[in-house]
């Protein structure tokens, strides 16, 4: 069984569109994250939620809006997509802030 699953795995879209990436974890973890990995392999945290409450909100354009309907889900909605948004986005979950389990990533390409 997949512990942390993201959908879709690949997303190609045009500039200006709105898209969502979904994430679900079945580990019973309280904390979920969204990371962005750029072309240089640097993995940067975007958001962190603990029990549906926003804990970390790094310097991310407000076009990115996370939504956590319950502690097993953390979705990422992106409005007005730009070329610079192209990257791989990783969802992760953890318990007690260690041992993060990552999803396999969503490669977003904005054309």
């Amino acid at each position: 069984d997949t512990a942390v699953s993201q959908t879709p795995k690949y997303l190609v879209t045009q500039m200006g569109n709105d898209k969502s990436i979904k994430c679900e974890q079945n580990l019973g973890h309280d904390t979920m994250y969204w990371y962005k990995q750029d072309s240089k392999k640097f993995l940067k945290i975007m958001f962190s939620y603990n029990n549906k409450e926003l804990i970390i909100n790094e310097t991310v354009p407000n076009r990115f809006s996370p939504k956590s309907p319950d502690k097993a889900h953390l979705n990422l909605h992106i409005n007005s997509l730009e070329l610079g948004d192209s990257a791989v986005y990783f969802c992760a979950s953890s318990q007690f802030n260690w041992g993060a389990f990552f999803g396999q990533g969503t490669r977003l390409t904005v054309v």
């Binding site: 993995l43 990783f90 396999q104």
Partner: protein, 114 residues
């Protein structure tokens, strides 16, 4: 099934000790292996390895890849308390075309005591 296995899962040492962290993998279409250091927030990129037998160094950290035996090690010499973190290993193994796949290990929790 693609998998990345790190060992040990946790390790406690004293300052000044040398540690070796292990990462083995079984994937199709291997492209590269990445090491990250994860502290409170985002993992910090350490190394990217693509070729066997070529050691990469950054200060007290070094890493090497063995593509024949399908593993990598991360060495930390003269450890300091600031090295305490989770070390993540990840493998890039794109299935082909423009597809992308990155599989992470579960990490090694390193604790360095003064």
């Amino acid at each position: 099934e693609d998998k990345v296995v790190q060992s040990p899962l946790s390790l406690v040492v004293h300052e000044g000790d040398t540690v070796t962290l292990n990462c083995s993998y079984e994937v199709t279409n291997f492209r590269s292996l990445l090491w990250y250091k994860q502290e409170k927030k985002a993992p910090t990129f350490l190394f990217m390895l693509t070729s066997s037998g070529i050691e990469k160094k950054s200060g007290r950290l070094s890493s090497i890849l063995d593509k024949k035996e399908l593993f990598s090690i991360l060495n930390i010499t003269a450890t300091q308390t600031g090295d305490s973190a989770i070390y993540l290993c990840a493998v890039e193994h794109p299935p082909g075309g423009s597809n992308y796949k990155l599989t992470f290990g579960k990490g090694t929790l390193l604790t360095v005591n003064p």
